[in-house]
């Protein structure tokens, strides 16, 4: 039996030591009516059959082809050295570093991660990661509610719909009200914020790809004593003003673009970085620096009294696991790229996205609005967004995240480009859109 080491002799010896007749007898204390039910599972497979089976499943996935998909995750350059280092078995098969003397690898790497996230966002303290950007945003709202003792949250419709959905799930349980700010010309207008609002949540760049006026929005939040929560794409922070620079109190988001494959949505990781005044409210694990008895620098999980295993029902969150390994991938990747490489990836993404938008405008496509965008933008379409996406997929191009009717744009999709998008890829998308009848002046009856 795979992975189980015991021979019959081993089992016999163990039973004798314990003083029990058989392995099944170890379960005799359990109510008889519960034991050994009939469970319908497929028969066991050896490794050869298993891999053949998985390959045949994978053959029904079609990941290849030019990829212009955004909407929460994007394909960026990940050098081979990144997974080679991050997925070393000492990192993969380790557990939470509760015995720091033998866990300096994970602990130091996490300290380095915290430092990098702090640098990217311009805020003082990062935790050791959370599940994803959506749950990190929800936890940020809970933090703001605890800190301000207010029970209302203002969120821009420019925040990803799935993030807003998760926010709703988490906050409804604690009777915290959510009000949604509608967009005007694809961006968030500066609101009048009431004094019962705990935080204002804005995404930069937003779901439609547009750049938001973060300093003005932050000021509006602060004028009412509310916190500003910026939901950001960490890769864009290679170029864009970081949340700390415009006075945001909390920066959250999804870390996938920093160096994890898209993997059909997970695992990725969420990040949360806060201003120093909010340190005691920060959920999740934290690694701190200290010394050992010999005066050597060392790292350790610290400020644990915030967490569930100590504080139980009064913890800042119920979070126990973080997303350590995927955060480590990002840490290694950021060190592999360095500031120069990160800038190149970000600038390349901006260039290719604007090149695509220009090409589409040239071909008569309805690129929405005049708003400035980073590496995603909105395209109005004739058919529904999901129909367009399927039609393009049939032609071997992955593009078109559907834009929901809540945005009042009619049929539309969001297109993204990264440094992995070549000029040929752009031509392929333009041609595919023409073929499926989405460009002005394209004939009917194609495809």
């Amino acid at each position: 039996m795979p992975y189980l080491p015991h021979s019959e002799e081993d089992v016999r010896r163990a039973l004798e030591t314990i003083g029990v007749e058989s392995v099944d007898a170890l379960f005799d204390e359990l109510p008889a009516s519960l034991r050994n039910p009939d469970i319908d599972l497929p028969p066991a497979m050896d490794e050869t059959r298993l891999l053949a089976h998985l390959r045949s499943l994978a053959a029904h996935d079609r990941p290849e082809g030019p990829n212009f998909l955004g909407g929460g995750m994007r394909r960026h350059f990940i050098p081979s050295v990144t997974p080679h280092l991050a997925l070393q078995s000492e990192f993969v098969t380790a557990y939470t570093p509760y015995q720091p003397e033998v866990a300096q690898g994970i602990l130091q790497a996490t300290f380095e991660y915290q430092t990098m996230m702090s640098e990217l966002t311009g805020l003082a303290v990062s935790n050791a990661s959370m599940y994803d950007g959506a749950t990190a945003t929800a936890e940020a709202a809970l933090l703001a509610a605890r800190q301000t003792r207010r029970e209302r949250v203002l969120v821009s419709r420019g925040v990803h719909p799935e993030t807003r959905a998760v926010l709703g799930t988490y906050l409804e349980a604690l009777d915290i009200r959510i009000d949604t700010l509608d967009l005007e010309t694809l961006a968030t207008p500066v609101p009048m914020v009431d004094h019962d609002v705990a935080c204002v949540i804005v995404q930069q760049p937003n779901f439609l790809g547009s750049l938001e006026a973060m300093p003005a929005l932050t000021e509006a939040a602060h004028a009412a004593g509310a916190l500003m929560v910026a939901v950001v794409d960490p890769l864009s922070l290679a170029l864009l003003k970081p949340p700390g620079a415009y006075g945001a109190d909390i920066a959250v988001g999804d870390g996938q673009t920093l160096g994890n494959p898209t993997a059909y949505g997970g695992p990725s990781f969420g990040f949360m970085v806060v201003a120093s005044a909010l340190l005691r409210q920060l959920p999740g694990r934290l690694v701190g620096e200290t010394v050992d008895v010999d005066g050597r620098r060392a790292f350790v999980l610290t400020l644990q009294a915030r967490e569930q295993h100590i504080r139980r029902s009064k913890a800042k969150s119920n979070i126990c696991s973080n997303h350590q390994l995927t955060a480590l991938m990002a840490t290694v990747n950021l060190a592999a790229l360095g500031p120069q490489g990160l800038r190149e990836a970000a600038a390349g993404s901006v260039r290719q996205a604007h090149r695509l938008a220009d090409r589409l405008r040239d071909e008569g496509a309805d690129v929405a609005g005049e708003a400035r965008f980073f590496n995603e933008f909105t395209l109005r379409t004739r058919r529904s967004g999901s129909d367009v996406r399927s039609a393009l997929a049939e032609r071997g191009v992955h593009a078109g995240v559907p834009v929901g009717s809540e945005y009042g744009l009619g049929n539309a999709v969001v297109l993204a480009a990264t440094e992995l998008v070549s000029d040929d890829d752009i031509e392929a998308l333009v041609a595919a859109l023409a073929t499926v009848g989405e460009l002005a002046g394209s004939g009917v009856g194609h495809g």
């Binding site: 005691r280 400020l303 644990q304 009294a305 100590i310 504080r311 009064k314």
Partner: protein
């Protein structure tokens, strides 16, 4: 284990000074600080906050634990020991003096007298241990 005679106590290990002009000082006992270990952080109530006897009003943290501190008396918080922000270890070093937590303006001046005296607290501790 120090248990000064001039203070009153609760079974949850808070001490209260004798009232002076309707005000008392509150802290945790030598026994409590010893049980907690090295104090790393203290969360104190807001000045001006109303407190009711038995309410959790403060938290004292060590590396591995967080202990709720319960108001031993009712009233309003007059002052908190700001020095504990930078030097929480004062609670370990001097639980009855430098390590005081907060001062309360009593709503009922007779209340401290109904708490345990030093002998009563000694017995409570012995029963626990």
């Amino acid at each position: 284990m120090q248990i000064p005679d001039n203070l009153r106590y609760t079974s949850s290990h808070e001490w209260v000074s004798a009232p002076v002009d309707g005000m008392v000082t509150v802290g945790i006992t030598d026994y409590a600080q010893d049980q907690l270990g090295d104090v790393v952080y203290v969360e104190l109530p807001a000045v001006g906050a109303a407190v009711a006897s038995g309410d959790p009003v403060a938290v004292v943290e060590s590396v591995k634990t967080a202990s709720d501190i319960y108001a031993p008396v009712s009233g309003s918080v007059e002052a908190v020991n700001e020095a504990l922000h930078d030097a929480p270890e004062a609670i370990n070093d001097s639980p009855y003096e430098g390590g005081w937590l907060f001062k309360v303006r009593l709503s009922d001046e007779a209340e401290p007298g109904s708490l345990l005296d030093a002998g009563g607290y000694q017995q409570a501790v012995e029963k626990e241990g």
